[in-house]
Amino acid sequence: MTASRVARLRVRIPLLRPKRPRPTGPPRVAGSLLRLSLALAIGYGALAAGLVHWQVLEASRLTNDPLNPLVLAAARNAPRGSIFDSTGKVLAHNVGGSGEPLREYPYFVAAPVVGYRSTIFGTAGLENTYDAQLTGLVSLRPGDELLRKFRDQPYNPSDLMTSLDVELQRVGVDLLGDQRGAVVAIEPTTGRVLALVSSPTFNPNRIVDPQNGRRYVADLREREDSPLLNRSTQGLYVPGSVFKIVTAIAGLGSGAIAATTKFEDQPEEYETGFLVQGFRIRDFPRRVQLDHPLNFYEATEVSSNIWFAHAGLETGPDALSDYASRLGFGLRIPFELPTSPSQVTGGDGPLSGFRDEVELANAAYGQGEVLVTPLQMALVASTVANDGLLMRPKLVDELRATDGSVTTLGPSGWSQVISPFDAQIISDAMQLAVEGPFGRDLAGSAKVPGIPTAGKSGTAELGGDAAPHSWFIGFAPADAPQIAVAVIVEGGGAGAQRAVPMAGDLMTHYLTGN
């Protein structure tokens, strides 16, 4: 064969090929090659798409997968960032130079937030959420991912600067003592979480102990008071009267009620009870303001179930559900720790989930099927304190990488739940509930000396002979809030007995240092 005899064939795009009379005989091989190339191109395109899928779109998820042994192996050998509180106190760090470093937690009171990192049990808390950043395997900034390849140290572990105030946290733990319950404190204007107490809690130093960790964890798991459960974000409680603030937000926000709204039958209903479809709603016995229909301020101050049942019915199931979901009810609140969704209703009834008006009326003052997490109720108080703007709760302010780069995680608004005007009305009512002449009986002990304080106590009836949960939500200073709190003591009796003074001590400590 010589070159001259070879017919030089070229693959051409069919559309551009001039029409020629169809040659007889089988089609030329060269023509089929174009279509074969197309098929191959599709196949190789799918492979390229596969690469992009795993190495770009899914890369972060795969790298953070807790089962990923490469992550575990790298984490064992690589240094790990420390965790600090907002005043610079070390909450978690590595100790021991030779061999595999051990994790130490100087403040075990921070356990529900910081969690632990154990070679046996994996990670929990912030140690889990920020595992990849603490080990330096990934950074929150995509640009760093690219730059990292060119550094001599491929891992760039970050320290976590948290918003936690470990002294406030300790006060919360001490106040709860051996009682079961939870405390959440938030900075209303930013959503920074200042304290997150769950009682009883565990000692992370004993979990990470290589010798006795297994036995300790086995004991913790067997205990009936579940110390491993983070009550502040995952415990679901009947809220009682503290939920009236949610009803007020929904009623005022939707325009169904106003600050001056009165229900004319109310004075006599104090004697007879408010009859909703055969169910009788009663107020707690009180000595005051029995002679006239209450307005919103008075009803909040004396915590009238009947007024709020009326208000809930006026507001209606749709608006109540709607405003509750704006506050975060019904979803796992996006947060750096696992959260349970709070609920306004069991959810299977025809009235936006409510079975009937009885359930709606009961829900309006925090009974019915309402179940809340302490974090959710702290967000309710925080929303009122922050002119109706709900901030996203957050724990980590800053990531400080070993290479000196700092990533700031600034505050971000979540939703404007109600107008600042309506928020001011509720704030005033809550201040009356703490400081007013009649409110003082119920929640006066939450008052921060010398500082205007707003709040709402609650006594959550559980039915049967069980002692009610003692609740308080509130904030201070009422005119320029710096701290919003939610306190619950399981089976603590009436709000005034346990939760209210604790919240007062907590806010006082934070604002005055005493």
Binding site: T2, R5, P26, V29, L51, Q55, A59, L70
Partner: protein
Amino acid sequence: MTAAARALYAVGIRPHFRWRELGLLVVVSAALVAGWASLSSFRAGELALGEAGLLVSYLALAFAIHVAFVITGRRMDQILFPTATMLAGISLLLMQRLPQDLVEQSIAGRDLTLAPLQLVWIASGFVILAALAIFVRSDGWLRRYKYTWAAAGIGLLLLVFLFGEVTGGARLTLRIGPLAGQPSELLKVILVVFLAGYLAENRALLSASSTRIGRLQLPPLPYMLPMLAMWGIALAIVIVQRDLGAALLYFLVFLALLYVATRRASYVVLGLVMFVAGGAVLYGLFPHVQDRINIWIDPFSDPQGAGYQIIRAMYAYGRGGILGTGLGAGLPQVGNVPSIPAIHTDFVFAALAEEMGMLGGLALLGLYALIAQRGFRIAATAADDFRALLATGLTLVVVIQAAIICGGNLRVVPLTGITLPLISYGGSSILVNGAVIGLLLALSDRGVEPPPPGTRPNVVRRLGRRARGLGGRVEEALS
């Protein structure tokens, strides 16, 4: 004509310079040296080239082959060989990077580990490549004895059926004395040779007349027999050898060649329907087929068992990201255990994608696409149908095989154990794929340049002509 050139011609050497190939080889060498330096520097903690002996030997061989091409004056494709050099060079780099104790074998009294062994295979493969590219001047020995080749292939298959050793759940390895190999690699070349001969001969009949069943146009029934036989062989390989990858490769190459020869989409559709039907039956009958499909769909259903390998590969992709961890900075082993089983053979693509990242993976796919482009170009400019089909088929066995294993690694298709051509560790694979590239190069030769007046014919060419004459006589005697 200079005096020097005349002197060369006088001793039978008629050089044809290959500047583009030389330029590309320089680029490839630079890339490989950079890769080697990157790996050595990472390990040493400072700029270093480490034990560069392996790489230097490899590059020396590649340039020697280039010089041989030049001296023998062959006018072949100039891009294919540098592409193969890059692929095999990446292979050497990866084998040098992976834990050396993955493979240990004694050759000629010396105990070798992973990277030196792979260099032995690559060097052998390149010698075969060069020998085929330089000395194959006629395709008669392939064209005329297609049924002999087919018989040899079936014989090889039967030998594996009867005497094959089981490795990794599949009956793949044939051992004759001290030599062990995987005949399925060789079989793919034999298959292409047979199909090219058969289809070139019967192309007109296959594409013209047809049997109609309803709206479906089928080939004339007698000519469907090879198609059915091919289908049966593929199924038999799955059943007896449990070698899903090879069966898939053979069948896809067969369908693609059938289409190229006839341009009848109905054959492809029919073939795919038969394939899916066969696959469905096999799925029902054989647990190992079920496993493959189930693991493909949800590897996390059995993360510590059947899904282990693919899950580990996915983690490696995640670690790699866009640019990769860098050579040496990945984690192909945890402690003394390889993080992905078969990381040097079936999952070498995952090792590459971890350390060289998405860009490295895309570049590798691009190299195979380049082979496809060169191969199809050779086919499109071939002198006749047989050569065109042969070039197409040889190209396809490389690029489809690469696609099958990369797709399996990437969970684009179910995983089937098969090597990544010119990259995976393994003698049989490297030798056969070297031979495939060598044949493609030989097919791309545009013939010797006409001799300048007054010189003697090229010695090599004379030898080739003599050999061809001998072959022709033997052939006549047989027929």
